[in-house]
Amino acid sequence: MIWTRRLIALLVLAWAASTGLAQVADDAEGKDPDKVSNDDPGRPLQMPPAATEVKEALEDFERFRKRGAWERALKALYTIGDDQSLRFVDGADGFIVPVARKRREVLTALPPEGQSAYRLFYDAEARKLLDQAEGDAERANLERIYSSYFTTTVGAAAADRLGDLDFEQGRFDRAADCWLTILRDRPDSDLSPATIAVKAAVALSRAGRRSEFDQIRAEIEDRYRDEPTTLGGETATAPESLRRLVDAAAPVAPPSDGRGADASIGLAEAVAPDWQFRIADSIEAGMAPVELNQWRSNPLSSARPAAAIDGETLYVNYLGRLMALDLATGRLRWRTESFHNLEQIATQPAAQMLDPSRFALLARGERLWTVTRDLKDQNSMGPFQLECRRAEDGEVVWKMADLPEYAGYEPSGPPILADGVLYVPAKIQQNQPLPEQWVLAMRPEAGRPIWKTQVAVSRQSQQRYYYSGRREQTPQVRLMWNSGALYVDTHVGLLARLDADTGTLDWGYGYETAPLQTERYFYGNMPQDPQPAGEPPRERGDALVFKGAQSSRIYAIDPNRMTVAWRRPFGKAARVVGCDDRSIYLGGEELSALDAKTRTLSWATRLPGGSLEATVLIRPDGIWQATPRGVFELDPADGRVRRIFRGEDLGSEAADLVAAGDRLLTISNRAITAYPARSAPPQEDPPR
């Protein structure tokens, strides 16, 4: 009898334990995808993490702060060394912030008695730093006070001076942040709040942070209406000063390439192209049916070239074969290599594993910058190369691989050119167990480095492929430059912001993402969802709207206030193709629009071939997409197909659509075709 009772008790215990374990496992499985931590080992990328001691120091500070043990709390905080101030810890709402910022946040949140104690301990040190902030040491000392001693008596003054320095150097974003921090966190400072508010407003205006500017201007009109301010040697009331300074720096129109990108588009049903450059016909000429079948079933036959327009020239990067075409006539100006024999290279396994979308091209003035790879290289893990070439003949000026500063780096996405600097996302795995994600800033003409910044370390190895026909599917890193800030979307769960001038990593935002398949054998673990192209973040008002290629959510964050405006589930196979006042446009199996205010799905239109890749032209008067069945024109209000222009490139796969002045170019895997952009009046219903 007693044994029976023991047995029952054991069984009950075992059941309880197994239920508990299952619950823990369920909790782990069903954890909130929006609670992202930089230290989560399940995340594919990790920003440069702070040492364990830093996290312990922050925990100690919190513990002592709760007890009111200020001396011990502050001592714990100041055990953090300067070398850790630019390492990263978890911030609020999914943001990953530098230790310096975290320290400033916890210090400014101290209650009055904590502030008093803090100033008692650290005022002298801060004053000493401020006194020594002259000459070469000025910026370093001011930054140190701003990050470590902001809540001391001299912290606000140091932040004000740092703001002035940044403003003078054109770093309006950073200047605005300094002054806004004073306004928000140091209302007790001796500085004139009206003057600081005007300075902040001017910096916000220059940085293009519209809603913040409107907010602070309203505050100036309301609170500091009669307060005198002296700025630029002139004394006036705060609102007058603001008007004078903002009007003096009227917003400068963004540089135009002179191509008249806003020319209206209206393609008549039977308009003949101005010219057509045939790619597929050249490769397929003379092929026997068996060869043709082999070529067309090869992934490389679906590759559409990367293209860029500069002046009157169209530059094309077709699988590493570079060409320059006259935009007016389509005449070939030069090419680096013929492509009629591509079908032979395409049969090799290494070529079949290539992701053709990694070939990229930038053109500006007398130079081209290309991302290419030798198709003949039979190393399936062979690196892509960044090269600078002369626009007039395609001759190589410099190669990243030849410059010792970039030894081991490989471009991991298309480069961008902004403010006279070439920014390149790159990865490196030299002497490292796992690849690292970097951003390189270089002089475009000579390739000399301006700065190099490590954004994150991968927790997964590089993709490895075994056996034939497995195309690389690592999402490409996309960059976006905006008002002196560089945004990096890794497309594997991390968006980061860097200071474009210095390369300083400001913050990261971790978002939900699916794990990356890094090893594949035979046909196992085939992706089942179609994968959309990775897009750069899109600017919409003060927010950045983005969606990772592997994420099932769309995010809108305010990068300046570091807040999440909204996040919304949508499904993995989608990308953000554009935004306007009314809608956020998404490409995927359908082209669809989210209402920008309510975030409800307004409409979805399925177009032939879907909208997973290739450029979509979005304008207030219409949306255009090139499909295998012609160019479709949609009404942005309801997604109705207004017109279908069949054109001369039917049967091609997804094509990029490029508006170039009075021409509309379709760039597909089969041909580049230029049509007159305006050849038909607006039309209500599509012709059938």
């Binding site: 046909y523 499904g571 197909v641």
Partner: protein
Amino acid sequence: MKPPRSPRPWTIAALRLAACLGMAAAVIVAVPPPAAAQVAEPSGVEGLTVQGKGSVSARPSLAEIDLDVSAAAELTGDAIVKFRDAKKRVHDAFAALKLPDVAVEERGLLLDQKGAAFNPYMMDYGVQTKTKSEVQLSRKLVVKASGIQGMDEEAVLQLVGRLLDVAQDAGARVGPPANAAMMAYRYGNMQPTNLVRFVVEDYDKLKEEAYAKAAADARARAERLARLNGVKLGPVLSVREVSSDNATRYYYSGMMLSDAPTQEEDDGARDRLTTPKFQDVPIRVELQVRYAITPAEPKR
């Protein structure tokens, strides 16, 4: 150590005999049974047995195009918006054609999940459970163009081409459902590749005609045989349908698309004749009829 013993001659002979018997049995089993039409009459049955054939042909009067409209999303609300828009665009596109003889019919709504399908490339990799499932709504639409029996081939081609173009431009998927190819591969079936189905609508009436012709043919044959053999034809003792063939039908195996309705279910289980080709479709009926015979009355 003893050398291996060689088999005795009688053992070999017995084995050979067994092999021969086995092969004979296999051949007997493998040979198909004779078709119903060829079954020999059991001996001792009296009467006269003939086979009558009747055939009529008809032109399809209806062209049908199957469209698949589907939408998937993580939020069911999004899937509904996508699905509603997709369906509306197809309906609007066909309505804009303003063709009185073209109609779009809807079949049943299917709700399932996307992203949990079998891996089509490897036999037993099974469902990828890590893939997040999305709600998927799908519905088959059937575009019907009637009155084509009086049209010439060129006109039918123009009409069908227009319908196919409109359907594809409206974003509908033309042909069998998206997973049909995968399932066909999985179960070793042939996937139909035709895009248009031609239907002979008045099939019952035509079949009636063919049966009448077959019966008349049987009667004529029997009368001739009776006359030639000097007997008198009596009443019909039995009738057996030997064959009633028609043009190719589509069959969707229940195993192949267990969750999808079969074509017959979709079409309301109507008995109708479908063909992938636009041509005159023959409807053949073959009947085996046995008549009683009596000796002919002697001539006076």
